[in-house]
């Protein structure tokens, strides 16, 4: 089943077009890696996929998904470095996406959070402070939060940007594992070689847009 169809889309701000003639599809169970230089429109595409921005032209069709159903792993901000928050509090906040007006978390939300913490091996850190964790552990926590929001698709914005080589390899392994479990992955990345090796499809933004399987990209 196709989850996302991008049909001749142009992206940008106001009159400034950053990307034009963008065509790609994301199928269920897919692993799409989006690469491109700075300024090529990667973050604009992220915002558009999340439904925070409208495309200038063309259409993005979401099939069986609402924009809020995409689990988003955002880039870490400076604010989070010394933020007093426990792992549990952060993962639980991922459940907010599915609650419209209810102010408090239900027992079911807590269960979802616990399941996802276990899935990513951070349940033992539940009461620890987020700021005291290593970079790799922090990304796992944020991934668990994204999973709480996501039903079947994750959008990862530079998931390994600030990680050391060991944590990077670890992160890629986790992402592949999630993909094998049936979760559709869209990953924005700088790290071209490593990222593409694991992806099924590649979308390169820039002057010459490439979209195809990762085998074709290498060829």
């Amino acid at each position: 089943m196709t989850l996302i169809t991008c049909d001749n889309v142009a992206l940008g701000y106001g009159s400034r077009v950053v990307v034009d003639g963008l065509n790609f599809t994301v199928d269920e169970g897919d692993y799409l890696c989006i690469i491109g230089e700075n300024g090529a429109g990667k973050s604009t595409l992220v915002k558009t996929l999340l439904g925070l921005q409208k495309p200038l032209r063309g259409k993005i069709l979401l099939n069986g998904l609402n924009a809020g159903d995409i689990g988003y792993l955002s880039q870490q901000t400076a604010i989070q470095k010394d933020f007093p928050a426990s792992v549990n509090e952060i993962v639980l906040s991922g459940c907010l996406a599915r609650k419209k007006f209810l102010p408090f978390y239900s027992a079911q939300d807590k269960e979802i959070a616990a399941t996802n913490m276990e899935r990513l091996g951070v349940q033992s850190l539940a009461d620890r402070s987020f700021a005291e964790l290593s970079g790799g552990q922090q990304q796992r926590v944020l991934l668990a939060r994204a999973l709480c929001a996501a039903k079947k698709i994750l959008l990862l914005d530079e998931p390994v940007a600030a990680l050391d080589p060991e944590a990077t390899a670890d992160m890629y392994k986790i992402i592949s594992q999630l993909n094998q479990d049936g979760i559709t992955i869209i990953m924005i990345s700088h790290d071209v070689n490593e990222a593409i090796g694991r992806a099924k499809h590649v979308l390169r933004l820039g002057k010459k847009i490439f979209y195809g399987t990762s085998e074709d990209y290498h060829a």
């Binding site: 809020g68 604010i79 007093p84 952060i90 907010l96 102010p103 005291e132």
Partner: protein, 280 residues
């Protein structure tokens, strides 16, 4: 000592001052954690200066209820400062600095040129550092602050999880379909209201200390959002109580005394964090 306190507690104006002071401390500390974490510590300071400027204008205009002018102007500036923070043309901190220094200068200028009062510097001083009007509260005003505080606490509890999400990660909150701009707007408006209401107690120069000190102290002691929030409320309330008590007993200015107690508490928390290890 105890006898003096019991004697003072028999006066209704002392009880009123304590009630209102503690309530203001409670409300201002609730949002303090969010403001400090969002790097908005200075927004309180800027808005307090705006409120001072507006108050000067209201004084010159001989308005019977100065709140009618001060409150709307401060709220509008809160919204403007927030917009400025999002708009990269002028950086957020520069906007705050501009608005705050500007309104301070214009306020004092207007007072100087148009005021008819014989004791100009006294008036200005009491607006900046707090007046004794907390000791002359009417029963109506006390009830008003009780009701407003209850509303404030209720709203905070209802929106607590969303406030956390918006503070911790705006991008994720947006992706999760939370109306981030709305929550940011509400936070600034509520802060503006608290500042205008509490100006009488601590004065416009000291109000931001009221907002940020308890949050900073609590962050030295605890590492989870909930614990920090609860701790900062408790610290703020206790410090306000002790501060008001000292000021009544010793005849010191209310606002500065409370802020001094807040600052000492921060020093204590800092020392505990440094030498005593951190609680979970």
């Amino acid at each position: 000592m105890l006898e003096t306190i019991t004697m003072y507690l028999e006066y209704p104006f002392v009880i009123n001052a304590l009630i209102v002071g503690v309530l203001i401390a409670l409300c201002s500390s609730l949002l303090g954690v969010t403001l400090v974490l969002k790097r908005f510590s200075l927004i309180g300071d800027g808005l307090a200066h705006v409120a001072f400027g507006a108050l000067c204008v209201a004084t010159v205009l001989h308005m019977a209820n100065k709140m009618l002018l001060t409150l709307p102007i401060t709220v509008i500036c809160a919204i403007l400062i927030l917009r400025g923070g999002q708009n990269a043309k002028i950086r957020g901190d520069a906007v705050i600095a501009m608005i705050s220094v500007g309104s301070l200068a214009f306020g004092y200028l207007i007072m100087n040129v148009f005021a008819s009062s014989a004791n100009l510097s006294g008036d200005v001083c009491s607006t900046l550092f707090g007046s004794t009007s907390i000791l002359t509260l009417t029963e109506q005003e006390v009830w008003l602050s009780v009701i407003l505080s209850i509303l404030m606490v209720a709203a905070f509890v209802l929106f607590y999880n969303k406030i956390f999400a918006v503070t911790f990660d705006e991008d994720f909150a947006r992706a999760a379909r939370l109306n981030v701009d709305f929550y940011n707007l509400m936070i600034s408006i509520v802060i503006a209201i608290i500042i205008v209401l509490s100006m009488n107690l601590v004065g416009s120069l000291l109000i931001s200390a009221f907002i940020i000190f308890p949050a900073l102290s609590a962050m030295k002691l605890f590492k989870t959002f909930r614990a920090v929030t609860i701790c900062s409320v408790i610290l703020s309330v206790v410090c306000a109580f002790i501060g008001i008590a000292i000021s009544i007993l010793g005849g010191t200015p209310v606002g500065s005394t409370i802020v001094a107690v807040d600052a000492l508490t921060f020093g204590l928390c800092f020392a505990v964090n440094k030498f005593g290890g951190v609680a979970a």
